[in-house]
């Protein structure tokens, strides 16, 4: 392997960037910032992948992660209290387990990097990684590829079923009651509040029906 010192410097800088932004994810109070710090971290890793001559996978990483982190930010904001971190909070939970898992993970990966024997088969410069990826997909891995399609279809249907409130047959939750707190018990939820909602909730409905 021969490469310039520039590549080494770039690798070090990018690796630092990836680690630092990854650390910032847990040190910021804002969900949106946390998501996009993670995005920066991924982008840095993507550039490292390009440096490793995986040109397609690296650029695909930018692409995928940009979309995915946007969606993650949307959902984080939707479902977390205090999404912008206007009030201080602790972004770290179960610290002991996390620290333990982190150390173990680092040791395992570090050991792999240090002690594993990597094959020494320099690829010829004329090899086009994108092309070989395509050939792989249309050759030996075709079955995997097609089953990925099926898995993704399942994902899509699962997503729709779980998240879509208003289906073609009307509201999904219509007529349904929350399950009881004990088997066979009354539906959960406070009955007093339910009565209030009868008035309050329907009040709105009158307006737009």
């Amino acid at each position: 392997m021969n490469h310039g010192i520039g590549v080494d410097i770039a690798f070090l800088l990018l690796a630092t960037l990836a680690v630092v932004t990854g650390w910032r994810v847990f040190r910021t109070d804002s969900m949106v910032r946390a998501s996009f710090f993670l995005l920066v971290s991924f982008i840095a890793v993507g550039v490292i992948m390009i440096l490793l001559a995986a040109e397609y996978l690296g650029v695909a990483m930018f692409f995928m992660m940009a979309v995915e982190m946007t969606v993650m930010a949307l959902f984080m904001v939707m479902f977390m209290m205090n999404p912008a971190g206007l009030n201080p909070m602790n972004m770290v939970h179960q610290e002991r387990i996390a620290i333990g898992a982190g150390i173990v993970g680092f040791l395992v990966l570090g050991a792999m990097a240090l002690f594993a024997v990597f094959p020494d088969q320099p690829v010829s410069a004329s090899l086009d990684p994108v092309k070989s990826l395509g050939n792989e997909m249309l050759g030996d891995s075709m079955l995997i590829f097609e089953s990925a399609g099926l898995v993704l279809l399942t994902t899509m249907i699962g997503v729709v079923v779980l998240s879509c409130h208003r289906g073609r047959y009307g509201a999904a939750a219509e007529g349904s009651l929350p399950p009881g707190l004990e088997p066979g018990g009354d539906p959960a939820g406070k009955p007093e509040e339910d009565e209030e909602e009868e008035g309050g909730g329907h009040h709105h409905h009158h307006h737009h029906h």
Partner: protein, 438 residues
């Protein structure tokens, strides 16, 4: 050196003006829209001059102070037909409409040249709530959601959503009375869930609008139908101008305004209508919202009611109109689209009626019961219908809600016609080449 060069260049830009509309200030707005050196902006952050056009009632002083202080440094103010506040020193006041653009340009140039100081801030510089940073880094309030971090409470309302029942935060705020997409003077308290209107309560009704003097004359003695119908068409075109601006069709909106300005019995709507249909105004814009039921339609009256299928029109009772074989055209759906189609049809109809009436010299016969462009005027003039918005808008997406507001002519009509036009304006209107608008 460099700075003065920059400022010299800056003084030659189109003057960005944020208009604050007082009573009858919309006339000035329309005049400025066609002035080449003025750019009307929607946000005070984008403005260099704050124009207070028309008299602002005392109950809107507080919002006016807030907007005044929201213009970034440097800025200046100009008062058109309204009394400047005494504590603002050397504030120019303009009376004549045709001098307004010039005055705005001068104000901006002087501001850029440093001949005029930026307007002083009126409100005291303190956060909305007293607050001191409490977090580890000086941020935040108390606990996860408590306190007033950075001076404001956090959004935490926990109301079930009206569409899918998710319990997320709703945002409550008061919008207006100086929001460009609202009828002048209107203010509403709105609760949003996401970009969906959850509740809407109109708190300040829009200013009563003045109609063309011919409508007031028509309540005293018979008037030529041609004149009446042209004034009607002009009124509708002015509303169309606002709506098209909101819909992002700036050029078409100016066309509507120009058509209104040069309206005569030989004008036709064909070109503008074709342009709107071809641009996809009826298909792409927010058009489905704001469906009025018959009761609501009766409440508001006028073209909005006819767009909802009611064929009430006081012109039917007038002998003059019967001679012209007038019959009202209606739409059925009663939504925003139907209202604009109705409006276009009525403009068209008015132009045809005006043409016929001019040829045959037809006069109105009824004086007690006339149909104004805003609705029927029998015993009482059309009254403020803005509370209707509270019922119509909840459940609509934000853009749809605002398109609905633009399509409904809710403002009341002022009861006397005499004082609505100053002699100066009449001069402008009658003065041939200075034929600006009525």
């Amino acid at each position: 050196m460099a700075v003065s060069w920059l400022r010299k260049l800056a003084s030659r830009t189109q003057v960005p003006v944020f208009p604050v509309l007082g009573k009858q200030g919309d006339r000035a707005l329309r005049y400025l829209a066609l002035s080449p050196e003025i750019e009307l902006v929607d946000s005070p952050r984008h403005a260099s001059v704050l124009l207070i056009a028309g008299e602002v009632p005392a109950d809107r002083f507080e919002p006016l102070r807030r907007v005044h202080d929201q213009l970034p440094y440097p800025f200046t103010t100009l008062w058109f037909r309204s009394e400047p506040w005494p504590h603002l020193e050397n504030v120019p006041r303009v009376e004549k409409l045709d001098e307004l653009p010039g005055a705005l340009i001068t104000a901006h140039r002087e501001l850029m040249a440093g001949q005029r100081d930026s307007a002083p801030r009126i409100l005291t510089d303190k956060p909305p709530n007293p607050w001191k940073g409490e977090g580890d880094f000086g941020q935040g309030g108390e606990g996860m959601m408590g306190g007033v971090p950075y001076g404001r409470p956090m959004a935490m309302n926990m109301q079930d959503d009206i569409r899918d029942g998710l319990t997320l935060d709703s945002l409550t705020f008061r919008l207006g009375p100086f929001f460009s997409a609202f009828p002048p003077g209107m203010m509403a308290e709105i609760t949003l869930q996401g970009d969906l209107v959850q509740t809407w309560s109109t708190q300040l009704a829009p200013y009563p609008q003045s109609l063309d003097p011919v409508f007031f004359t028509a309540r005293e003695r018979p008037v030529p139908i041609a004149e009446l119908e042209l004034a009607r068409a002009r009124h509708h075109l002015h509303r169309l101008f606002q709506a098209l601006r909101l819909a992002g069709l700036e050029n078409a909106s100016l066309d509507a305004l120009r058509l209104a300005q040069n309206l005569s019995t030989s004008s036709t709507l064909g070109g503008l209508r074709r342009r709107l249909v071809r641009s996809g105004f009826f298909r792409l814009s927010s058009m489905e919202g704001g469906v009025l039921d018959p009761e609501q339609a009766r409440q508001i009256g006028g073209p909005a009611a006819r767009a909802a299928g009611l064929d009430d029109d006081l012109r039917l009772e007038d002998a003059g109109y019967r001679r012209l074989r007038f019959s009202p055209a209606c739409q059925t759906h009663g939504n925003t689209r139907a209202r604009w189609q109705q409006t276009l049809n009525e403009i068209d109809q008015s132009l045809h009626l005006a043409q016929q009436a001019e040829r045959d010299e037809v006069y109105t016969s009824e004086v007690d019961r006339i149909e104004t462009p805003r609705g029927p005027w029998s015993e009482q003039g059309p009254e403020d219908a803005s509370p209707l918005l509270d019922e119509v808008l909840p459940g609509l997406e934000w853009g749809e809600a605002l398109a609905t507001v633009a399509s409904l002519d809710v403002a009341a009509v002022v009861n006397e016609g005499g004082g609505t036009q100053t002699p100066d304006e009449l001069r402008v209107v009658q003065g041939g080449s200075g034929n600006v608008f009525k």
